[in-house]
Symmetry: C2
Subunit: 342 residues, 2 copies
DNA sequence: ATGAAAGCGCTAACAC
DNA sequence: GTGTTAGCGCTTTCAT
């Protein structure tokens, strides 16, 4: 059984007034010193700082933000999942950048469900955050209304969004898919398939597939078959997705996967079944996964900078908060890297 | 250039008073209704709710928490990294659970540096959170003081901690290592090595290695060599860590890795060099990685429930916040799963 | 360079 | 079942 009891710590230490008293100045002077807003002498500053240390003063941002509203340093970040290499990297990168700038990150996980995002946002807004970072482009209408009503900066990440709510940072997924389609066609592949996750209400990620199909159609060799799993992306999903697809269409000569995890799963399936890659079947992924570096064959994939997205999203948000000029739309470049699997 | 300007939205909508006016009641009645704390009639409730919807009222938790202090629903969670499968899973699991209970998660990433944790905590406490979840057991003395002074519930996660600051949820890493040591010895291995990451100031994860060594020594076949990398855990780190270790000690007959990522990296190194696993070299990891399911050989590893840690940590924290009785120390069980690599 | 007064939006405590 | 009063700890505004 636990020892301490959480009896409401009505006072958890000193407050401004007590510091002020101890230092023989007014609350305002202490406040100015803490915010370094000028209007105090160096002597007073030192005396006050000494008392702050001595009394172990921890400022109360609740009161500060409540009292000024403009002073909020809270930023809400909502991602589809944390447990996904790519989103996890973006989240971490955002948090690191915001932390450096003195903001704190309040997270949300929405599972790509607009309703969950909405519920989360409603809760978030009650904390009067300085800004929000959302993933994807499809939001519920209530979400849109809430954002409009509060008028705080909003950064939409992940998908390229040419008409963002406010500002947006992401990849051009359509082009990624299109480029890979052209690449595979260029390599002489004619009977191509796709393995990915069945998109839910939101479309995160499925746009690459559209670009891919477009490229194939334009080249006169439309997509032969695709396997959309009701699962989340994983190595194993790629493994059995490939199995499913090939059992339906055994004579494909290439497969494009939603991401590298799934592509690697596919690669292992081929290895298990003695399917020659790339001789018999080409394999291509997306994301530039670190694991690919240790595979016997380097994976053909599109390298992306999730760090870039996170960092820029955070920086853009900070710029908006400081009313500095900033771009509306940032497209983070990606790079198709031919490997040994296609 | 961005369109909207973030001109301080001094009022971002209606407040309690306006709802009260519109509904022809007092602020208190509205407050009671919103918190469902009784003391109002069903009629009034409906009338008030209608106004709330109509005016798009978003409660101000800043004011609420500030005014009551006990009402905080903010929880700080600090992890070493988000970009690590295991920690990411714990974080996500914590957030999901807290969200269900109506709390919001404020995150921190400390890179296993106590100073960063301390800096983060100082910032967090200024938001007067209801509780904190920290990773690991080593905290700076200032961190300890801050926590003692605030007296909010603290949950320490990841490592088994028999004398936690408050409560603790984690794995018994020592036993994991010890068990694997005994297992490998039992399989006839005599010249064992270890590949992991050089522990920094904090010890997260290195305790498994201690348990492992203890088991080997007890059996009379002490650890032959270990390779501690100045890097972060990854497939590739496991790959070249194995290369380094074997170049120093070529006649090892088994290697224990810090985690599955690294073990899989090692497995691929062996494959590339035609080292027979497990004939010539046994390989064992820790963590129960999903990727292991698609490998040609199932990896010998210890399965752990990161979800369990996250969920229980959050639940314990909630119990503490509600002053419900709860355990001080929770050890989440792990299970050694023999595979085909050892 | 410093201070005094008012007020942010809510809840606790106490009326009625 | 409902209202009134006071106050949480800061910042803003205006004096001095």
């Amino acid at each position: 059984m636990s020892k301490k009891t959480s009896k409401s710590p009505r006072k958890l230490g000193a407050n401004l007034a007590q510091i002020a008293d101890a230092a023989g100045v007014s609350k305002m002077t202490v406040s100015r010193i803490l915010r370094d807003s000028g209007g105090f002498s160096e002597e007073t500053r030192e005396r006050v700082m000494r008392e702050i240390d001595r009394l172990g003063y921890v400022p109360n941002r609740l009161a500060a933000t409540f009292g000024s509203e403009a002073a909020s340093t809270l930023v809400g970040v909502c991602v589809p999942r944390v447990t996904s290499r790519l989103y996890g990297e973006v989240l971490e990168s955002i948090d690191r950048t915001l932390f450096r700038f003195g903001y704190q990150t309040m997270i949300g996980v929405n599972d790509e469900l607009p309703d969950v995002e909405e519920k989360w946002l409603r809760g978030l807004l009650s904390w009067r955050p300085a800004g929000v970072i959302l993933s994807g482009r499809s939001h519920s209408s209530a979400t849109l209304e809430l954002l409009k009503a509060t008028s705080i900066p909003v950064v939409e990440i992940w998908d390229l969004n040419t008409s963002p709510l406010d500002v947006s940072v992401g990849f051009n997924h359509f082009d990624c898919g299109h480029e890979m389609g052209q690449f595979l066609i260029g390599r002489g592949r004619r009977r191509l398939g796709y393995v990915g996750i069945q998109p839910s209400t939101t479309t995160m990620g499925s746009i690459r597939s559209e670009g891919f199909q477009k490229a194939l159609s334009s080249a006169g060799h439309p997509l032969v078959a695709s396997e959309l799993l009701h699962d989340k992306s994983s190595f194993y999903a790629g493994y059995y997705g490939t199995e499913n697809l090939l059992s339906r269409e055994s004579n494909l000569d290439g497969i494009y996967y939603q991401d590298d995890e799934m592509a690697i799963g596919g690669l292992f399936f081929c290895q298990a079944r003695n399917i020659d890659v790339p001789g018999q079947l080409a394999i291509a992924g997306w994301g530039g996964m670190e694991a690919a570096s240790i595979l016997p064959q380097r994976l053909t994939t599109t390298m992306v900078s999730t760090q870039g997205v996170g960092k820029q999203a955070a920086e853009l948000l900070v710029a908006r908060l400081r009313d500095e000029p900033c771009k509306d739309v940032v497209v983070v470049p990606t790079r198709l890297v031919p490997g040994a699997t296609a």
